[in-house]
Symmetry: C2
Subunit: 234 residues, 2 copies
DNA sequence: AGGATTTGTGTACAAATTACACGTTGTTTG
DNA sequence: CAAACAACGTGTAATTTGTACACAAATCCT
């Protein structure tokens, strides 16, 4: 340990930070689990279990197990909380400010996940866990708002050039639903005609009616993602 | 701890992994420090201090101090190793496979840094530390090759839409130097005329001759980054 | 001095982005 | 049930960006 660290320790003592065990650093993972429903991007949150954050919501997370790979931990958390196995999950970054956790030093690695809220496997057993509209989330426990924002930013970038958002939709969907989804993620309105053109340029989609000979002007036309494109992990 | 973790512990015992203290997880940072010289992208490496990797090179890193923010640690490492203070540094990701470190469980967070090799402040004191051509690096100690590749990938993406690469160049440079730099980062050849057009579209650069009335056809024309655009941290 | 190489600049074509209009289907409602 | 309204599906023109490619002046090499 450097003398600098010792100085910081003295500072901590002077500030009477005595309830912390700063020399035993905890490691956790936190999951930002996104869903999509009623034209709104949602995030799965749980009531904070700390007195300090009694009224606040927090991300789903856990300390990592000594014998589990870091990148495996979020899968475990997701399985425990949602019952889902085969999910899109991606590491976003690690957050390790000294005082980010009130009861001790914990460094956390954040992951973001995209799941289909209407998935039949999905089981939110714990009644302390709820879906929240992302746009309405103003404040969270710990630095979880910052973490959520980082994940949202990553999602926005990724949604533009990889077919990840389809993890949020059912197998079949209309272009309108897809556009609503993109709008809720990006937080902006998109031109309907240009959006359709741009999507078809990427050639990710399969027109479910295309086998039938030209059926023109059918509102609510359904599409699905071409097989092999669905990203569950990266 | 979950029963799953206990099972893994039993497995470890069965495999006679006795020299590890897997229940005390270490936390480190590793820095992928890029430089640019003689038209080649370089990376700063140090001889591994572990027997297991006696012949191999490794990234510059250190365990974090108990009283230091995670994102501050790489600045400390860089200051100690290069003498540089004001550097571009960005977190890339965390690597935490159980068996990534032979002498115990260590989770590391990787950062990439861009520095000017010809910076007068730069002092590589330690003679175990050397610059290596990135393209020639085949294997490193631990999982450091994987980490370096992740940082290189990030650099490639970032170089395309943010003016980060100028941290690798002196204040004044020719477009030829800039193109060589981009080519060494991306690993591909670029068309000279199209590269110039693309760069000028971004309007990052300031033509040092532009105040003088039209001086045509001057090879080796110098440019510099517009003030306020240099990114040292993100 | 002459030839090869490098530097600076510009043009023509293809592809993608943006702005914008029309006819049809489905829904609401008086 | 029909008229008014909203949403759906498709297309076209103008602009911007990307790509391929050619020539003249300056520098380098022998």
């Amino acid at each position: 340990m450097t003398t600098e660290a010792l100085n910081r320790l003295k500072t901590a003592e002077a500030e009477k930070i005595t309830h912390l065990d700063y020399f035993n650093i905890g490691i956790s993972v936190d999951c930002v689990i996104f869903g999509f429903e009623k034209k709104e991007l949602k995030v799965l949150l749980i009531k904070s279990d700390l007195e300090e954050f009694a009224d606040k919501w927090s991300l789903l997370g856990d300390l990592i197990d000594p014998f589990e790979d870091l990148d495996s931990a979020p899968y475990r958390v997701l399985k425990q909380r949602t019952g889902l196995d085969d999910v899109f999950l991606q590491q976003v970054g690690s957050f390790g400010e000294v005082k980010r956790h009130p009861s001790g030093r914990v460094i956390t690695t954040a992951y973001y996940s995209l799941i289909n809220i209407r998935n039949h496997q999905l089981k939110i057993t714990d009644n302390e866990v709820h879906w929240h509209t992302v746009a309405d989330v103003k404040d969270l426990a710990f630095d979880h708002k910052k973490i959520m924002d980082a994940c949202l930013k990553r999602l926005r970038v990724q949604a533009m050039d990889e077919p990840v958002v389809f993890n949020l939709l059912p197998e079949k969907f209309s272009l309108r639903e897809l556009q609503d989804l993109y709008q809720s993620i990006l937080g902006i309105k998109l031109d309907r005609r240009n959006f359709r053109k741009k999507i078809s340029l990427k050639s990710w989609l399969h027109d479910l009616d295309e086998m039938e000979n030209n059926v023109p002007h059918r509102p609510g036309k359904l599409y699905k993602l071409k097989t092999g494109l669905k990203t569950t992990t990266l």
